[in-house]
């Protein structure tokens, strides 16, 4: 093989660089995201219940927000009837964030962990967080 030294050295350098993200983080556990529901509005609730069940919200909140958006903007429907029969005003800014007024500890906690950047807050105004 011609230039075997150069080729092997190049290969080794490539492998080292390509696996750098793995080797650098080896053995380091990234803290599990733990979204907080410790807000004044939620603490006042007798039964800490979101619009739908916790499991449903965990897995389906993005589809739900998409549907809410389309219903409100395009159909003009503003009331959502939850599975338990309660009615909610479909609004990210005024309903969701009224209770979840801690965006950095609630939304961002998981979104940062899984590196998704929803562009909600380009337009919608996030609630003021105390200090």
């Amino acid at each position: 093989m011609y230039d075997s030294g150069k080729i092997l050295a190049g290969l080794i350098i490539f492998i080292v660089i390509a696996t750098l993200p793995f080797t650098l983080n080896l053995g380091k556990a990234v803290a599990k995201p733990s979204p907080s529901i410790d807000t004044p509005a939620i603490n006042q609730m007798a039964k800490k219940q979101c619009v739908e069940s916790k499991d449903y919200m965990k897995t389906t909140h993005m589809q739900m927000l998409n549907n809410w958006r389309d219903e409100v903007v395009r159909e003009g429907n503003r009331l959502y009837v939850a599975a338990d029969g309660k009615e909610y005003n479909m609004s990210l800014q005024n309903t969701c964030m009224h209770c979840h007024s801690n965006k950095s500890k609630f939304c961002d906690e998981c979104h940062n962990y899984v590196a998704v950047k929803p562009y909600c807050w380009d337009c919608h105004i996030a609630p003021k967080e105390g200090a």
Binding site: R69, E75, G76, R78, V81, C123, I125
Partner: protein, 269 residues
């Protein structure tokens, strides 16, 4: 296995009948599912076949009265105030225009000078036949079938600005920059801002109508702006239109604007 012609027709006919029947059942089930959604109209909301506005210029006593309407609109909708030295980047929802700019084609030489120099309050006309909707490639702007409001879906707008070219009234503005730093007043935290790269305009306060209140500008106008359902003979706007001579902007274009201007209305009427 071989089948004769008669058996083949029997099987084919039976299969076709089965297919047709299945399709109708499937369609019925689908319809059932679609119509019983968990989404409802807010019963508090105001309803109309077609919203319209009448602007009675004689009822504005001063420029301050007009400014009050503009301020109320801009405050409610977080409209930014960009550098006045950069008029191309101005964001316009409700603004004033001279007579010859508002009504080109009607600028006769001898017109009462009082009218020639009035600052006419102009906004999106919420046309019955809106050219902006026709050109939008993403259906981000659309006419709401329920009440005729020409709406913007900011989530869909790609910022191509076709609608701005199509609108004959200049009622649409493009966000060349992030508008948030230019919102000088306290934010209305119940309404979103816009983002860089979308087009915006007056929305006839659809979010206020849904809550059962009149548009922000109408509320502070002391009766100079009449708003209501143009299909309802008893509505405020129809009362004004029935008792006054009114004109619309550029009616020759066939867009059928929903904003009417009372010319020569009685003051303190």
């Amino acid at each position: 296995m071989s089948i004769n012609r008669r058996e083949f027709f029997k099987i084919a006919g039976f299969a076709a009948a089965l297919g047709l029947g299945g399709a109708t059942v499937a369609a019925a089930v689908k319809k059932e599912v679609e119509s019983s959604g968990p989404y409802l109209l807010d019963p508090k909301g105001l309803k109309a076949k077609r919203w319209a506005m009448a602007v009675d210029m004689a009822k504005f006593q001063s420029d301050a009265d007009i400014q009050k309407c503009i301020d109320a609109c801009h405050q409610t909708h977080n409209v930014p105030e960009v550098d006045p030295a950069n008029p191309a980047q101005e964001i316009k929802w409700l603004w004033t225009e001279t007579y010859e700019h508002a009504f080109p084609g009607n600028e006769d030489e001898f017109i009462a000078p009082h009218y020639k120099h009035l600052p006419f309050l102009v906004l999106c006309n919420h046309c019955e036949n809106p050219p902006c909707v026709r050109v939008c490639p993403t259906k981000a702007t659309f006419k709401r079938e329920s009440d005729g409001i020409v709406m913007m879906d900011m989530h869909r707008c790609i910022g191509c600005r076709f609608c701005m070219a199509a609108c004959p009234y200049g009622a649409r503005s493009f966000n060349f920059r992030d508008p948030r730093p230019f919102i000088k007043k306290e934010l209305n935290r119940e309404f979103p801002t816009r983002t860089k790269g979308v087009v915006e305009k007056c929305t006839f306060c659809y979010e206020r109508l849904a809550k059962g209140v009149m548009p922000a500008c109408v509320e502070v106008s002391n009766g100079a702006l009449a708003f209501g359902d143009i299909d309802d003979p008893g509505s405020d706007v129809r009362k004004v239109l029935d008792n006054n001579f009114t004109i619309r902007r550029k009616p020759e274009l066939g867009t059928h604007p929903s904003v009417y201007y009372v010319i020569g209305g009685k003051e303190h009427a």
